[in-house]
Symmetry: C2
Subunit: 365 residues, 2 copies
């Protein structure tokens, strides 16, 4: 508990310092919780030899964005509270669950600048000289790690120290959030499987997977736990929906146009992975007949090589979709901050929400 | 609620009828719960078109063994209670989580006499004419279905209607159980990856995966929820450990020697899958030097064809391991029933536990 005082916000600091201190507090708490679980469940067990270091490390690498939004939601309705910090830290474990399993499903080998969990487990299998497929073993072990994160998240929330009556205000939102995470990923897989997904289908998944999960639900969960008044909760919901969507728009633009030196991913990764992303779907919607045919032709190619990526990027740019998305991002952030301004959100939290909105939408990686 | 009265046991019935009525009550409750969740989360959504029928169907196909043990545990310390039935029914969802994901990891295509969930989703993908690998899609969708079952299990337990104080006696056991399920499966994968696993390593996994998960933990959970006295809980724990192990010994014997017409699985399925099963590990331990070399040679073969299966079965029989396991099963069941007899377990529940022990260990599939 040494790393973070009862009140995580240093008295005179601005929102950026407060968020930094909060991030450290969250990381310490969730790291401690996971280390204890690993101790209980893996000590002296052969199968835990990698997990006992890989799982805590995986958890520590996060940005704690969802936990931060949830804690801001809490602070809109109640004083700072150490139990509340532990409660919202549980959302990072929910996120780890999603990442560990999504990386298997997307066959993504890198996560947070390190080998993905399934890659680490596969290498371990190989190093032991075991029989069977290392890749298959790695995938199974990462799925099981994700399961543990999912179990531990709920356990950490329940054992956070918040009174049962406080928690009971949060469970419906928490349940909705974690179910949506699984159904949203299923919807994402279905959209990826369609050659040319519709803008509306993409937008629907994006709302559930990011709009809701990254920003809106965490804010609402924090506000519900704190017992915030209905007007504030509604404003946070509006902000969350808008900023969450904008967050994903930025993600999708970076997935197509991001600088590989900054993102750490190959050029046009989302195009190579045939991700049903908003920028692609909007391009198809906005393109004229000729350009649309060209896009559809490129999107249905079996193999996506460098030349195809370049052609796709050119066609997407020509459609006007990237410019349109930039305008949409700006507009949504402005409307989100207006919603906060017009409700009775504490001034310090309104400032913090402005900083977080910028972080979600102005990032380059 | 029409299917099962407040008291699920018909007044004059013996343990078999009581268990049948209980099974129907459990199936009705869990089916209703899952149908409601599917309604909430999949109605009108393209990705839910299969899930909305496949998930409830998957749940209904179970034997509800874990829920039955938990309810017997409850009845050893408290009167019958509808909320308790709902609470223990949640264990079937935990089991569905394990089955859906284990089938992916084991690449098992059949479950409960029907195509496994991943196979159903793969066929659906194919029928839609979508792009990408149907098998890969099917596996991901089944993993996500498993995640939903895992989330829903905890939700169903929490929303069962048992008072918070009652539930709080159960959470530590419930958490241990679901974590053990994931770590036990990981240990199982590690054992399968070793060519010749040791008897002790196999026994350790078997205790966690079956001994604990199928019988012992459910009984202890039910007893803890009911606030049973310590002596009864201890006796249930002893019974659970012994019968759970014997259950898995029977499973392992059937996996090698089971009649394919009865089990619905190919001859020697566990040998083909290179499962690290108790009967194989015991055979290696009991064999003399010549036979052990022969067994190790067979176990390290790259491909397991019909002739190899026959040779393996002969070598295992020659080691004396199957006879030894039969004796062990008998002995463990006797010791389990002795433990129940010597504690203050209600007579009707003692009878029921004898019936359940026989069901776990005398089955032919």
């Amino acid at each position: 508990m040494a790393t973070t005082p009862e009140s995580v916000i240093p008295a005179a600091a601005g929102p950026r310092d407060w968020l930094t201190a909060l991030g450290e507090g969250l990381s310490a708490r969730v790291g401690e919780f996971v280390a204890r679980r690993c101790d209980e469940q893996f000590t002296g067990r052969c199968e835990g030899a990698l997990a006992v270091t890989a799982l805590p490390e995986f958890v520590r690498g996060g940005k704690f964005l969802r936990s931060m939004f949830a804690y801001v939601g809490w602070c809109c309705g109640a004083p700072e509270d150490d139990a509340a910090v532990r409660a919202v830290a549980s959302l990072e474990l929910l996120h780890c669950f999603a990442l560990a399993q999504d990386d298997v499903m997307d066959a993504a080998d890198l996560r947070r600048g390190r080998p993905a969990l399934h890659t680490q487990f596969a290498r371990w299998h190989q190093d032991q000289g075991w029989s069977g497929s290392p890749a298959r073993f790695g995938e199974s072990a990462a799925i099981l790690s994700g399961d543990l994160f999912l179990v531990w998240s709920e356990q950490m929330l329940r054992e956070s120290g918040l009174p049962a009556a406080t928690l009971s205000r949060g469970w419906p939102l928490y349940d909705a959030m974690r179910s949506e995470l699984a159904t949203g990923q299923l919807a994402d897989l279905v959209n990826d499987a369609r050659t040319v997904p519709s803008w509306l289908a993409v937008l629907d998944v994006l709302r559930r997977k990011s709009g809701n999960y990254t920003v809106r639900r965490p804010l609402e969960l924090g506000a519900a736990l704190a017992g915030s008044d209905a007007r504030v909760s509604r404003a946070l919901g509006v902000y969350g929906g808008l900023v969450g969507e904008a967050f994903q728009f930025r993600d999708d633009v970076l997935g197509v146009f991001g600088d590989p030196d900054v993102t750490g991913k190959p050029v046009g990764q989302d195009l190579r992975d045939r991700k049903a992303s908003s920028v692609v779907a909007l391009a198809v919607t906005m393109a004229d007949t000729t350009l649309r045919r060209e896009l559809e032709r490129l999107l249905s190619r079996e193999a996506v090589d460098d030349a195809t990526v370049v052609a796709m990027r050119d066609a997407i740019t020509a459609s006007g979709a990237p410019d349109q998305l930039e305008k949409l991002i700006d507009k949504q952030v402005r409307r989100a901050l207006d919603a906060i301004d017009s409700a009775d959100v504490p001034a310090r939290m309104a400032e913090t929400l402005a900083v977080l909105a910028a972080r979600c939408t102005e990032r380059v990686r």
